[in-house]
């Protein structure tokens, strides 16, 4: 037996082995999907990630130049507008994605954690956006912060999360909350990769007749046979 095949006792080796076992490369980045992954609704998951990429990219440009830049330069205002519209698109496609996954009951087949992480992403994205609105340094920021404080203060959150403190909100907006959203998205995508895209419901008439909606013997000749539980899935 070669040295590379010897089970390792190091922490690093164990982590690597566990990671590869949970998500082997062909499962992490497959180049084929079950044939039922053929609907426009699947586009909205990947569109959510794409929106997040555009948000982060435009946000990085704004961060490079500082919080006041976009108020007095046309280029800055342009990138701020891209940032704003990418956020609007992000929430739009994410909500459609969530509704789609609800009607697909996408938590079936051991995918509960996939749903939970997706729902938490939405809930964490809301304060991420709010901290952006109150960090704008314009009238919107003044008004929204003085209104939002009452709701947050009423439940005690205002004691450590002060929306009228620009410095604190800016830190949350450009680092802490985006980092949380990205970490959750990574976890969500890895869970999707691990468990695969939820298969369709079995139709009642086919169930009654004893036919399966997932017939192993019904493949077209050009299709490829799946390799067992969790081998299916798409990023969305």
């Amino acid at each position: 037996m070669s040295a590379t095949e010897t089970p390792t006792s190091s922490w690093t080796g164990r982590v690597r082995e566990a990671a590869v076992e949970a998500l082997p490369p062909e499962k992490l980045l497959p180049d084929k999907q079950p044939t039922y992954v053929a609907s426009w609704i699947y586009v909205f998951g990947v569109a959510s990630i794409a929106s997040l990429v555009v948000i982060i990219a435009s946000g990085c440009i704004l961060a490079l130049k500082g919080p006041a830049w976009w108020h007095y330069t046309g280029v800055g205002h342009f990138f701020n507008s891209i940032h704003l519209w990418a956020v609007e698109l992000f929430f739009f496609v994410m909500v459609v994605h969530l509704w789609g996954k609800y009607w697909m009951a996408a938590w079936r087949g051991g995918r509960t954690r996939v749903w939970i992480t997706g729902a938490i992403i939405f809930l964490v994205a809301v304060p991420t956006a709010l901290t952006g609105y109150v960090s704008q340094q314009n009238f919107d920021a003044q008004w929204i912060s003085t209104q939002a404080k009452d709701g947050l203060n009423s439940v005690g959150v205002g004691a450590f999360f002060n929306v009228t403190n620009f410095g604190q909100m800016y830190s949350y907006h450009v680092l802490l909350l985006p980092a949380a959203v990205v970490a959750l998205v990574v976890a969500h995508v890895l869970l999707v990769r691990r468990h695969g895209v939820v298969p369709p419901f079995e139709l009642e008439d086919r169930r009654a007749s004893g036919a399966s909606t997932t017939p192993a013997n019904a493949m077209p000749s050009s299709a490829v046979q799946g390799s067992g539980p969790g081998s299916d899935g798409a990023m969305s």
């Binding site: 980045l29 180049d31 084929k32 079950p34 992954v37 053929a38 609907s39 586009v43 990947v46 569109a47 794409a50 990429v53 205002h77 701020n80 507008s81 891209i82 704003l84 519209w85 609007e88 789609g100 009607w103 697909m104 079936r108 087949g109 749903w115 729902a119 994205a125 704008q136 314009n138 009238f139 919107d140 003044q142 008004w143 003085t146 209104q147 009452d150 709701g151 203060n153 009423s154 439940v155 005690g156 205002g158 004691a159 450590f160 002060n162 009228t164 800016y170 369709p200 419901f201 139709l203 909606t213 017939p215 299709a223 490829v224 067992g228 539980p229 969790g230 081998s231 299916d232 798409a234």
Partner: protein, 334 residues
């Protein structure tokens, strides 16, 4: 069925043993990024983004000197919204509660604000070379608390009556007059002690822009905390006047909107909805009640896979037949 069994999501979903087709995830992601970026640029070119200039205390005091003076007098008297807010700013109120829940009170005062000292007296002390003002401050501070309050309220009362009359579109009493040329406010208030001198000094300081800086300056040179100037301005009428014109008030679905005709935070529609309906609309504890309702709904949203009825609705409503139309069609043809 056991409780655990009832809570466990029904799982009749077996692994897929059917056909597979080529699917390029990386290509899909790259195309999606390109499309979203293009859409964002298109929306930017078409609609840009709002950026209404912020208000300042200097602007407020110049444009609405009576309103500013009335707000300042209430800060000194301890009768403003901020003065009686309670935690996290002061101990002058318990804050909101729901049944036995007093989280605002429990978390305590984390951003202490004494409106009389922080908004009025301390800024006035920074004004140089004004013996009359210095004497007025000294007289005010030397007086017992009861007298201070009596002076402040005596001065604030005619100002409040003036503001109320304007709101109700009535002719205000002549106890308050505004010099349209100089913007000076004169208040005929008996028993106000040195408060008139102090308020005139504060108005002058505010108009010069000095109060904006004074409220921001606290412990160090670099400043990022706007809590004090924002709370002071929120106690006055300038922000709400601008907000009303921009459909941003609470009864106008407030916080989810933004200036102009932009979509704003539309994802807060459900949160904002509760403020439009009873019993929340007229409740003194509306904020905590709405936050609790949203907390419960958010938890339910996360826990949908465990909620009987909600989790099985997708099986009963045939939206899935639309989603997997192609799949079912191919099944029928077999």
């Amino acid at each position: 069925m056991s409780v655990r069994g009832r809570l466990r999501p029904r799982d009749d979903t077996g692994p897929w043993r059917g056909a597979y087709a080529p699917y390029d995830l990386v290509k899909e992601l790259c195309i999606a990024i390109g499309v979203i970026a293009l859409l964002a640029v298109l929306l930017t070119v078409l609609f840009s983004s709002p950026d209404d200039k912020p208000s300042t205390i200097a602007q407020w005091s110049r444009e609405m000197p009576v309103n500013f003076t009335a707000a300042a007098a209430k800060e000194l008297a301890g009768t403003s919204d901020t003065a009686g807010y309670g935690p996290p700013y002061n101990h002058n109120g318990e804050g909101q509660h729901a049944a036995f829940l007093y989280p605002q009170k429990w978390l305590g005062v984390s951003h202490p604000i004494n409106t009389a000292n922080d908004f009025v007296i301390d800024p006035l002390k920074t004004v140089p070379d004004n013996p009359a003002l210095a004497s007025a401050i000294a007289q005010f501070q030397a007086a017992p608390e009861k007298t201070q309050k009596a002076w402040s309220e005596a001065y604030a009362k005619p100002l409040e009556e003036y503001e109320t009359a304007l709101e109700e579109k009535k002719t205000p009493a002549k106890t308050v007059s505004l010099n349209p040329t100089t913007g000076a406010v004169t208040v005929q208030a008996s028993g106000a002690g040195p408060v008139g001198t102090m308020m005139s000094g504060l108005l002058a300081l505010a108009k010069s822009g000095g109060l904006d800086g004074s409220l921001l300056t606290s412990r160090q040179f670099f400043q990022t905390d706007y809590t004090k100037p924002l709370l002071f301005m929120a106690d006055g009428g300038l922000l709400s006047e601008r907000a009303e014109a921009q459909h941003l008030l609470g009864e106008q679905w407030g916080m989810m909107n933004e200036t102009g005709s932009y979509p704003g935070q539309v994802w807060l529609w459900l949160y904002t909805l509760w403020y439009q309906v009873e019993p929340f609309k007229s409740s003194e504890n509306a904020d905590i009640l709405v936050m609790l309702v949203m907390g419960v709904l958010s938890l339910a949203f996360i826990c949908i896979p465990f909620i009987p009825g909600v989790r099985s609705l997708p099986r009963r409503v045939p939206v899935y037949k639309l989603i997997w139309k192609e799949h079912y069609r191919s099944q029928q043809s077999l």
